[in-house]
């Protein structure tokens, strides 16, 4: 099965140059059934990557461009009047898909964000009097612009918590950019083929469930999460003034699942401390709410996570 994963990575490489961390994060999300939030400035192939992933997996893919005038019914669907039958019928929105790309999610007002995030959690939509279950797999990959940009509505903490990982998409290296430029000029980006089926995905998930994680590492995960809520207890008193709210229990679950997925992608049947370490930043960075003092001093969540990793002893 790992060969298939490697093949999948290669297939994605036809359309996406570099950005291995983003591709790996998306795969972790896919395998762990966790939604992914991609943050980065425009033009970093966020949309292209998600599009390529959907093609490679042979999953139904839809994209919603979030705008300030978007309404909840635009994404969920609505009951519309059918004059032929003189009755109302349900028109399902683009939410009914396997892979949903919510592009620039923070451009839409909070009521639309809430509508989407509710579905992400419940995997169920109610239109009129009827409820619909969203088919598995259902994965939301949302992109957002950095909140410092104009015309964006910051996602509330409670909604951010529903994303398994927040991936920071960085610029490509110079060599990678040179390759992108040349391929774009000659239009020689490869066509992504479908190499994965829904059955394959199910089989991967079953294998993933078999990945072993040691009890000490489980405790290590819980300690990492707990230290965000009470850093003083773990010998990090100075961090106390920098954190307003720590991570929720959902963070422990997601870190656990992500570490297992990472181990699977590495071809291991057990989780090592490094697997936890490779995903801990992505799982925690959007769940720690900084205090005003930390913001004033320019301290970021990544610095806090680094301090925690350095302090909590590795089993």
């Amino acid at each position: 099965m790992n060969q298939k994963i490697e093949k999948l990575k290669k297939e994605l490489g036809k359309a996406v140059i570099g950005q291995e961390q983003m591709v790996e994060g998306l795969l972790i999300g896919l395998l762990s059934e966790g939604h992914i939030l991609l943050e980065g400035v425009p033009g970093l192939a966020k949309t292209t990557t998600v599009n390529a992933l959907s093609k490679a997996l042979g999953l139904d893919f839809k994209r919603i461009q979030f705008t300030p005038d978007l309404l909840p019914s635009d994404i969920i669907g609505a009951e519309i009047y059918d004059p032929k039958n003189n009755s109302f019928r349900i028109k399902k929105g683009p939410l009914f898909t396997n892979l949903l790309l919510a592009d620039e999610i923070n451009r839409a007002p909070s009521k639309v964000q809430s509508a989407l995030l509710e579905v992400m959690q419940e995997r169920q939509v109610t239109i009129g009097d009827e409820s619909f279950t969203i088919e598995e797999p259902f994965l939301v990959m949302a992109t957002q612009n950095p909140i410092e940009q104009e015309g964006v509505y910051a996602l509330p903490e409670a909604q951010l918590d529903r994303f398994m990982m927040k991936l920071l998409v960085k610029h490509n290296s110079e060599e990678e950019e040179l390759e992108i430029m040349r391929k774009a000029a000659t239009k020689s980006f490869g066509e992504v083929s479908t190499i994965f089926t829904a059955e394959d995905l199910q089989a991967v998930k079953e294998e993933l469930a078999k990945i072993h994680i040691d009890a000490q590492l489980e405790r290590y995960i819980v300690q990492i999460i707990a230290s965000t809520r009470d850093p003083g207890k773990f010998g990090m008193k100075t961090l106390g003034s920098s954190i307003m709210y720590g991570a929720s229990p959902r963070a422990s679950i997601d870190l656990f699942k992500a570490a297992k997925a990472k181990a699977f992608l590495e071809g291991n049947d057990f989780v090592s401390p490094a697997d936890i370490g490779f995903v801990v930043h992505d799982v925690l960075r959007h769940r720690i709410v900084l205090s005003y003092e930390a913001r004033a001093q320019g301290i970021g969540t990544d610095e806090i996570i680094a301090t925690i990793i350095k302090t909590i002893p590795i089993p």
């Binding site: 291995e20 961390q21 090592s272 401390p273 490094a274 370490g277 490779f278 801990v280 930043h281 004033a296 001093q297 320019g298 301290i299 990544d302 610095e303 996570i305 680094a306 301090t307 990793i309 350095k310 909590i312 002893p313 590795i314």
Partner: protein
């Protein structure tokens, strides 16, 4: 100034001529003057009666004396008798000649001819649909009435039978403090509005307001009350000289004098310090160095602002560590697990392979030594600094 028998005869003749009715086509008019040889500013009562003689028409009239510098006129009354096709109008005017010698009193008279139907039509309108009266205006040339105006006796200031009253509220005041004085002239005659009731005097200043004039006009003339609100002011004590106003009553042809007797006003010199007005007694000139204090204040504020901006304390702490800080931290670590934690905390994908090697070294006791791993890290970190 007694009336001679000849003048009485002339006056009577003029009055009789005046009261003869004159036919003017559709109507007759009749003037009557109370006097044709008045004194300057003596009241003359003029009456005009208009009577329609052509009863087949509807007649309306518009009458007024023409304005002139030779006389003033005031309408006292107008009476109309609204008989059918038999208009009768009686006007009464009071006229004051303003120039001596022969003067002509001229008139504007317009005869307006219309019909019953047109009058009825004009009345048929309403508030939102006003209909004008369609009529034919015929200007009538009335011969002027002549007055032979006699001059007043020399020095006459007031014409009529007036009495003088005055009020001095206080006779003692501080320098330049106003001393209120009110002079009232009351009687029958030409309104005694004088430019200067008190002649200018170098010993004191006179402040005056516009005189308050109350007049009731009738055929007996104008009953007037003229009040002069005044105030006197001086630096030192002064005497208001006796004021004599010469009057002449045309009815009795007698001259009279209205007198305000000489009056002494005492003006005291106040202490300069108690004066509100400090201009006449300003404080001795002193050097004002207040500007220097203000300037120094601005300089201090500027320097303080400049220094505070420069102050390191106000700058946010530099969070950027030196580029080799991680390297130094790694090199100082002798504990492999600590080193593993440091590399994981760095969140740098370039260390991923090293992390895997280190992990293998820690948990399976295989792989490269700590020294070798540090050497590899050093290599990657050096690439970074390059």
């Amino acid at each position: 100034m007694k009336k001679s028998p000849g003048s009485i005869v002339l006056r009577l003749l003029l009055v009789i001529v005046g009261i003869t009715a004159v036919n003017a086509g559709d109507f007759t008019y009749k003037f009557a003057l109370s006097d044709t040889t008045p004194y300057l500013k003596e009241a003359v009562v003029m009456k005009l009666d208009l009577e329609q003689t052509d009863h087949s028409k509807v007649l309306l009239f518009k009458f007024s004396p023409k304005k002139s510098e030779a006389y003033e006129f005031y309408r006292l009354d107008m009476k109309e008798e609204d008989a059918y096709h038999a208009a009768k109008i009686h006007y009464t005017y009071l006229i004051y000649p303003k120039r001596i010698g022969e003067i002509d009193i001229t008139f504007d008279l317009i005869e307006m001819v219309t019909t019953d139907e047109k009058v009825a039509y004009s009345f048929s309108g309403d508030r939102d649909n006003v209909r004008g009266l369609n009529k034919k205006d015929i200007p009538i040339d009335l011969p002027p009435l002549k007055l032979h105006v006699k001059p007043l006796p020399k020095g006459t200031q007031i014409v009529g039978d007036f009495k003088l009253d005055y009020t001095i509220k206080k006779e003692r005041a501080s320098a330049y403090e106003p001393l209120p004085l009110t002079i009232t002239l009351k009687g029958v005659g030409y309104p005694p509005v004088l430019d200067q009731i008190i002649p200018p005097n170098k010993d004191f200043s006179i402040f005056s307001e516009k005189p308050i004039v109350r007049t009731v006009r009738s055929e007996k003339g104008s009953r007037c009350t003229v009040t002069y609100p005044l105030a006197l002011s001086a630096q030192k004590s002064f005497t208001l000289p006796e004021i004599k106003l010469k009057t002449f009553d045309p009815k009795t042809e007698k001259q009279n004098s209205l007198t305000i007797p000489k009056k002494q006003f005492t003006v005291t010199q106040p202490e300069p310090g108690t004066l509100v007005d400090k201009i006449d007694s300003p404080k001795p000139l002193q050097s004002d160095w207040g500007w220097l204090g203000t300037l120094l204040g601005y300089l201090v504020a500027f320097v303080a602002g400049f220094l505070s901006a420069k102050s390191i304390k106000w700058r946010p702490e530099k969070k950027v560590k030196p580029e080799n800080a991680l390297k130094a931290e790694i090199m100082a670590t002798s504990d492999p697990k600590k080193l593993l934690a440091l590399l994981i905390a760095a969140d740098d994908r370039r260390y991923e392979s090293i992390i895997r090697k280190l992990e293998k070294s820690i948990y399976s006791k295989r792989g490269p030594s700590l020294k070798q791993i540090k050497s590899e890290i050093d290599k990657i970190a050096s690439e970074e600094t390059l």
